[in-house]
């Protein structure tokens, strides 16, 4: 079989280049956008995904981890009563005002008061044990390396939070937050910095269960009792999703992203289909001759669709390479990008769909391939 579609693509690559670039850019934009969205909104749930806790207990109806309200610390007893709960930890969230050594004005920070012990669940994935141990020192805090300039401090510098003196005892990565700066402290330090909450109340309780696969069942069981006051129990996965969905949709940011994706898709489809139409028109007499010789219209349509497929494949190859470069660059500059294989495949699939939809639009041009029109 003569590979008409491929041979034409190679021979007349200049003609197809705009379509390949359009598909490539559409793919690249979708990939970068998805990675940025997942990276940025993923940081909304870094408290959950960076920790090894299976269950989160907080104020009922809490939409996002940063919106927690204090619950009665006595709920801890309810958790400990359950045979499947191995470990319970407190997590104190404090919205605070930071003043650094250098003049940066006030910086809004989120203080995470966590268990500084070696088996601590909170931020177990982001914090090496040795670094965590340093939090035991009163007034010690740890921040993300990328936030140092925002905070106006260097490692081992002193600063004040809510008017109280603290000292940066370590830096780590993967702690960047949405709408503020994350500061890690021990529970005791956080309690000192917290000027509003009563001492017997805590923002969250987190727990580890015997079998993480049963976390859902344990959460349902724990949600029953109301004797310990108002609280709700979520699995870590549920709560992380809840937080991400809040940022993605309730803040309007997600709608903007989807709108942009639709625009990219539309513009890409217009350019690609017009390029493919031009390619069909350019060969319309040859197609008509083939039809005169008995090659069916369906076979000609297949040639156009094959061209659309190759345009898509080559465009996406380009976008994958470029996206890889951008991700390397982003990692170097601490830009939060994160792309799951599913999201990457979805982006590439969407762009391939764009190419194929454009091919379908170009197919309609083949109706001009009427062999009778050659007899003029």
């Amino acid at each position: 079989m003569v590979a008409l579609a491929r041979l034409t693509l190679v021979h007349e690559w200049r003609r197809f280049l705009p379509a390949m670039i359009a598909v490539g850019f559409a793919g690249l934009l979708q990939l970068l956008q998805a990675a940025l969205v997942l990276g940025i909104f993923g940081s909304a749930s870094v408290y959950i995904t960076g920790s090894t806790a299976d269950l989160w207990v907080g104020y009922p109806g809490t939409q996002s981890v940063n919106l927690g309200r204090p619950i009665d610390a006595g709920v801890e007893m309810r958790l400990r009563m359950d045979a499947d709960v191995l470990r319970v930890e407190s997590f104190r969230w404090v919205d605070a005002d930071w003043r650094g050594a250098r003049d940066t004005g006030g910086v809004s920070v989120f203080v995470s008061g966590i268990d500084a012990g070696p088996d601590g669940l909170m931020f177990a994935r982001a914090l090496p044990t040795a670094l965590r141990a340093r939090l035991a020192e009163p007034g010690a805090v740890i921040v993300d390396r990328a936030d140092l300039s925002t905070l106006g401090v260097n490692l081992r510098d002193a600063a004040t939070i809510n008017g109280q003196r603290v000292r940066v005892v370590g830096v780590t990565s993967g702690l960047r937050a949405l709408g503020g700066v994350n500061v890690l402290a021990s529970l005791a330090t956080a309690r000192q910095l917290d000027t509003t909450t009563a001492a017997d109340r805590i923002t969250y309780l987190v727990a580890k269960v015997r079998d993480p696969a049963q976390a859902g069942a344990v959460a349902a069981r724990l949600s029953d009792g109301r004797a310990f006051g108002n609280y709700a129990v979520w699995t870590a996965k549920q709560f992380a999703q809840r937080s991400q969905m809040y940022w993605m949709f309730d803040t309007g940011a997600g709608a903007g992203v989807l709108f942009l994706a639709a625009i990219v898709f539309l513009v890409g489809a217009v350019i690609t289909s017009q390029t493919l139409v031009a390619a069909v028109v350019g060969s319309i007499r040859e197609y008509a001759t083939l039809n005169a010789l008995g090659v069916g219209v369906n076979a000609l349509r297949k040639v156009v669709m094959e061209q659309a497929f190759w345009v898509g494949a080559l465009g996406l190859l380009g976008s994958s390479v470029l996206a890889g470069l951008f991700f390397a660059l982003a990692a170097h500059y601490n830009v939060p990008v994160q792309l799951s294989p599913v999201a990457a495949v979805a982006c590439l699939f969407l762009s391939m769909l764009l190419a194929l939809v454009s091919g379908l639009a170009a197919i309609r041009t083949l109706r001009h391939a009427d062999p009778a029109s050659l007899l003029r």
Binding site: T8, A288, L290, L293, G294, V295, G296, P371
Partner: protein, 250 residues
């Protein structure tokens, strides 16, 4: 092909066909009540001034267009009874076309141009290749079959187009002004090839042209004017068109 042996030795027949084109409110009649029958093994020429309807007659006889009235049949098939897909299949199996413009794909070599329609016949790829090479050698392009259209002269391009049309070994070969884009020498080569195909293969070659060189080389000339056949002339002693293409090939 039992139809061919039992029916009169005509491969193309038109009876009382009329055709007119409508443009807005203006209806322009092109063919008036034309009846004719064409034999295999001959080079039949439809000649006449431009706009006389000769290309329309070719389109109807080859099944590319339907007449308004009357009927056309090819190889015993009533062409109006076949739907689009059946017509495509009929053309694939039985007919070859040569057009004034060569209509070759710029990306394909001469050999690939010829292989392309052959590959849709469902033949094994070795046979497709063998037939393409044979057809190209037959028109004297054996040494140039790896070249693309941009590297071929006009005459060579038309010979590739002929090879593409005849590689399928069609019973019917239609040619529309096959020589009008060519110079004298190349025109003569193409005429000789068409004639030889009719003679040696028994193919029905129906050619539309106003090229006077073709008139003197045809077995039969139908002259059309204003949509009617003015003259139907069989040349009893056609000139010996036995000149081999190899002698002309560059």
């Amino acid at each position: 092909m039992s139809l061919l042996t039992s029916a009169p030795p005509f491969t193309l027949q038109a009876s009382n066909i009329s055709k007119s084109f409508t443009s807005g409110r203006v209806v322009t009649p092109v063919l008036h009540d034309i009846s004719l029958a064409i034999r295999p093994g001959e080079l039949t020429l439809i000649s006449g001034p431009s706009g006389c309807g000769k290309s329309t007659l070719l389109a109807i006889l080859s099944g590319l267009q339907q007449p308004d009235r009357g009927s056309a049949s090819a190889l015993g098939h009533d062409l109006s009874s076949l739907d689009t897909r059946a017509l495509e299949y009929f053309r694939l199996r039985h007919t070859g076309f040569i057009f004034q413009g060569f209509n070759l794909f710029p990306a394909l070599t001469a050999q690939q141009q010829v292989e392309l329609p052959l590959s849709y016949l469902g033949l094994p790829s070795t046979e497709v290749r063998a037939r393409a090479i044979e057809a190209l050698e037959d028109v004297g392009l054996g040494p140039r079959m790896k070249l693309r259209p941009a590297e071929l002269s006009g005459g060579e391009k038309q010979r590739v187009a002929i090879a593409r049309a005849v590689a399928k070994a069609p019973e019917l070969l239609f040619a529309d002004e096959p020589t009008s884009a060519l110079d004298a020498a190349n025109g003569q080569i193409v005429i000789d090839i068409l004639h030889r195909i009719a003679r040696t293969r028994g193919t029905t070659v129906l050619c539309v042209s106003h090229d006077p060189r073709l008139i003197s080389n045809s077995d039969r000339v139908l002259t059309i004017e204003d949509g009617r056949i003015l003259n139907d002339q069989s040349l009893p002693f056609p000139p010996a068109a036995t000149v081999g293409t190899q002698e002309h090939s560059v």
